[in-house]
């Protein structure tokens, strides 16, 4: 067993140009067992948390990546000019539909949104958030869409299973039009879904 394994892995994380998978580290280090790598990644992550420095280790898109802490965003933005290509609300909705319903064809997306989505899908393809999986063997052979690895990276997701569970819709308008009694107990109270998991 390599004695500086943790340091070696840290150096790889430092230099990697994308999330680094355990598999990749294993190949680079010619190791046969991934357990030790996982342990070291865990140890590194705990070190960063204990130190509370400017960056931390995130498990994202199937790999591990050093990322700056959200607290310091303001200063980073002063140093580098990130390209402010914000997604519009419509684009986000379309992306969410593709993420949750994939593999999905355009007409299914448009069915849910009730409007034409061709332009938005093209933009999402261009920005590599969405990819074409192939064609569906139905009349017209429409393209099948799914999200990319880049999507996982941008939205800070480990994998597709990491997508937040869509909240049940319970609070549209006021469900009590006549009475002002207590709210019905059948309403599922879901705790805030935007909680950040700390690993």
């Amino acid at each position: 067993m390599m004695k500086d394994l943790k340091n070696i892995i840290e150096s790889l994380l430092f230099i990697a140009d994308g999330p680094l998978t355990v598999e990749r580290i294993k190949n680079v280090l010619h190791l046969s067992d991934a357990t030790e790598i996982r342990n070291m990644l865990k140890a590194l992550s705990e070190e960063y948390e204990a130190r509370g420095g400017g960056f931390f280790l995130r498990e994202v898109a199937g790999g591990y990546q050093l990322r700056t802490r959200p607290e310091y965003t303001e200063f980073i933005k002063r140093l580098i000019q990130p390209n402010p290509q914000r997604l519009s609300k419509a684009a986000l909705e379309t992306l969410a539909i593709i993420a949750y319903k994939q593999p999905v064809i355009r007409s299914d997306i448009e069915q849910i949104r009730g409007v034409d989505c061709g332009g938005i899908i093209r933009m999402l393809l261009d920005r590599k958030l969405v990819r074409v999986l192939g064609r569906k063997e139905i009349p017209g052979r429409p393209l099948i869409y799914a999200t990319t690895r880049h999507f996982l990276e941008v939205f800070d997701l480990k994998d597709l299973k990491d997508l937040p569970t869509p909240k049940e819709i319970e609070d549209l308008g006021d469900s009590q039009t006549e009475t002002s009694g207590p709210p019905p107990s059948s309403i599922p109270e879901e705790s805030a879904g935007s909680e950040e998991k700390k690993s």
Binding site: F14, I15, D17, Q65, L66, R67, T68, R69, P70, T73, I76, I80, P82, N83, L87, K89, A90, L92, E93, L95, A96, I97, A99, Y100, P103, I112, R113, G114, V115, D116, R131, V132, L133, G134, R135, K136, E137, L143, I144, T148, R149, V154, F155, D156, L157, L163, P164, P166, K167, E168, I169, L172, G173, D174, S175, Q176, T177, G193, S194, E196
Partner: protein, 235 residues
């Protein structure tokens, strides 16, 4: 009756957004939509858009037709003993709920620590890896591809058994397999996609998958000038 006033600051993207707005505005239960009221207001809104020469999409008319249809079905008497029909309003409630769910999903997505927004990664120089001249690659044409395909077919054992039990893989499935490989590795050589124990059917499906992928501009196929190795790059 109080005239229905429309605020100008509400520009709806589609009929679903307008419906949601009307439901919220009237403070009604989505599971118990007063269909006559909502339909009237919806039609009123369309009328307003027309009078303003607003360029609105046909989708609004489709929705208006759906609403009117539901309204008329609600008026039909329910006969005793008939198989219980579901509430005609479900035709609109179901898609509304699904749309709202996706809207809230979009909101929770955007609240995450977005890369390039709330969190950043180091940016390694992109041009760090230069291709040496002898490693020059050219875009491979269809004929090079067919040649390579021929070679792989020649390597096949000349058995003509047909295995009826074998699972046939579709071109579509093969495409997603290849995409998965490319997602991880970025590029792959032509030869690697054809395993040595593959049967003819599988080889042909793989080749068709590649052609389809080029057509969909999912991949770029390049050939090494010296070595003649054909490589697929994920776009």
């Amino acid at each position: 009756m109080e005239p229905y006033k429309i605020k100008l600051d509400n520009i709806f993207e589609g009929p679903m957004d307008l419906l949601i707005h009307l439901i919220k505005k009237n403070e009604v239960d989505i599971y118990d939509i007063p269909i006559a009221l909502i339909t009237d207001q919806f039609l009123e809104y369309i009328g307003w858009m027309k009078s303003m020469n607003f360029d609105f999409a046909g989708e609004f008319l489709v929705m208006a037709a759906t609403l009117t249809h539901i309204k008329s079905r609600m008026l039909l008497p329910v006969h005793e003993g008939e198989a219980e029909e579901e509430d005609p309003r479900l035709e609109i409630t179901r898609p509304l709920l699904e749309y709202l769910q996706m809207k809230s999903a979009a909101e929770s997505l955007v609240q995450r620590n977005l890369l390039g927004e709330n969190t950043f990664v180091r940016n390694p120089p992109r041009e760090a890896i230069r291709i040496a001249p002898e490693d020059e690659i050219i875009r491979a044409g269809l004929f090079e591809l067919i040649d390579a395909f021929q070679k792989i077919l020649e390597k096949l054992p000349t058995e003509h058994r047909v295995d009826l039990t074998a699972d046939r893989i579709s071109v579509k499935d093969r495409i997603s397999e290849i995409v998965d490989i490319l997602e991880v590795r970025g590029s792959v050589t032509f030869g690697e996609l054809f395993s040595s124990d593959a049967d003819k059917n599988e080889i042909i499906v793989t080749f068709l998958a590649l052609l389809e992928m080029v057509k969909l501009s999912l991949i770029r196929i390049m050939q090494h000038v010296q070595l003649g190795i054909i490589r697929l790059f994920y776009l």
